[in-house]
Amino acid sequence: MIIKSFPLVTILVLFISAFIMPLIKDGKLVKTISLASMFLGLILSLTTAFYVIKYGKFYYRIGHFSAPMGIEFYIGNIEAVMGILFTFVSLMIIWYSVYSIDREIISSKISLYYLLINILIGSLLGVIFTNDLFNAFVFIEVGTLASCGIIVVKDKKDNIKATLKYLIMSCLGSGLVLMGIAFIYSITGQLNITFIHKELLSVYHQYPRAILISLSLFTVGLGVKSAMFPLHTWLPDAHSSAPSSSSAILSALVLKAFVLLLIKVLYRAFGMDIITEFPVLNIILILGSVGMIMGSVFAIFQRQIKRVIAYSSVAQMGYVFLGIGLGTDLGVAIAVFHMVGHAVTKSALFLAVGAMIEKTGSKELKGLRGIGKEMPATSALFLLGALSMVGIPVLPGFASKWNLALASIEVDKILIIGIILVSSLLNAVYYFPIIINGFFGEENLKDKIYKSKSKPIKELLPIFCLIFAMIYAGFSSGSIINFIKNGIV
């Protein structure tokens, strides 16, 4: 079937179109190519998803070399959902950036910027689809360099500093991941996830120490890249100094791909039987819960709005790690669902904030008082996103918190419900002042002219689409979680 090759075609289209861009000097044409390739990617992933729903999961052999020798793609339920999510969110972000990027970076770099974005999304899709650990490592490195590129493209002092910090931490992370792969290879002799699992089941009694070392190397290595709590130090600088479309991609997509690889390694390569014998899941659980609280606490003390949202990402990634750490199918399904919800919400928030910063010219929270009167539409979209982050019913933030609570009751860890509640309250503590100061207060609204700074409606359409997708994800949370749950192993 030709549909089976669509995931590979998506990645190839993105990579090939990326390298055409620097040959073209015309900025508009470059934007069109980037949008068109991402749109094609979305259509291909939708087709793949329908195929998966109808005929179930499938493997795709690249170059028709069969499994242990050749590289394989594995497309199951999670991969189908993630394929749609990544292409959809990046399509919306690119759509937004078409109008705004000229004001953030110089015009000679625009074709390079879109080259980097296409390569980044292509490599992230590669990390998601691949069933081969070394292949995943190569895609991780490509993605890391590209994501450093989209931060440093602004060429300010802060950007270079943040990028170097990010690059050093990421190199540390990928070094650890490669070492983890080396340990697995030394005891199994395989790199394909399916075959590693088969081999490990027969040998894991003989090598408990090697497996423990490799598990921890993977957890720390991918934890650095996906901002697991004590390893998140690079994130606020990198996400707050980048252009707003880059921040949206970094926060919504880049973190998610690495967590998904961690899920694949833990639950597919090692498998439930092996990881439950080691303390790794409990450590992930604890770090996740600490991250949920501390990320929010740090966010409360920030003065710049982009840093608030960046720290909020740390807290939200805590939920994902909490779901992984529960060690049940439901927990992992919720972790993946939370990635979906967070990706659409956080990208909408970053884009809305980008619009506010662009119009008011102020990065500080103080400068955004009375924004609700000046930019009513943008602020309303921001409000909806913030409500989902806090966990108001129907929106996806609530759905994942509610289901996480149910899942933690299932494994007799009642304490987690308290942590979820505290974290939600803390979320409210830093999101609501922004909104309240934006919409209410005599002092705040004085001298502000209604709709004086509002953006044209066509520039807000991508944010609107993201918020719409968020509400849709909230309404159909039950069926999405079920769909994901059926495809974990």
Binding site: V138, K157, I160, L164, I168, C171, L172, G175, L178
Partner: protein, 120 residues
């Protein structure tokens, strides 16, 4: 101790990995950090290639006659590390380029001094 001596490749690569890791984390000079990163990567290459080496066998290059599958070492780790080296070289190049940029902007490559300065 005996286990360390028999697996001296692995022991050596672990020591190198530790050295690289410590240099990467503890030094504030950016060039030293990048050197540490390279030592760490090289340690991984050594570890991986040592895993593919089988004693008294030759490199998997057929010169005149094919000597059968038992005559050659495992070629997979070596070829993987070829990719790994390319990746490491490109990250090093990128990091060095950023360091040059940073030196132009801040006039120093000590990371702790840079962190103290306020950006614009």
């Amino acid at each position: 101790m005996e286990a360390l001596l028999t697996n001296y490749y692995e022991a050596c690569s672990m020591i190198l990995f530790g050295v690289g890791f410590a240099v990467l984390l503890l030094h504030s000079n950016l060039i030293k950090k990048i050197i540490g990163m390279n030592i760490m990567d090289t340690a991984i290459f050594l570890f991986f290639i040592a895993k593919g080496y089988i004693e008294k066998r030759e490199a998997p290059i057929i010169v005149d006659v094919y000597k059968g599958v038992d005559a050659y070492i495992n070629p997979v780790p070596s070829s993987l590390m070829l990719t790994g080296i390319v990746v490491a070289v490109s990250t090093t190049a990128f990091a060095l380029a950023l360091t040059v940029k940073l030196h132009e902007e801040y006039g120093t490559i000590e990371l702790d001094e840079i962190m103290k300065m306020k950006g614009d």
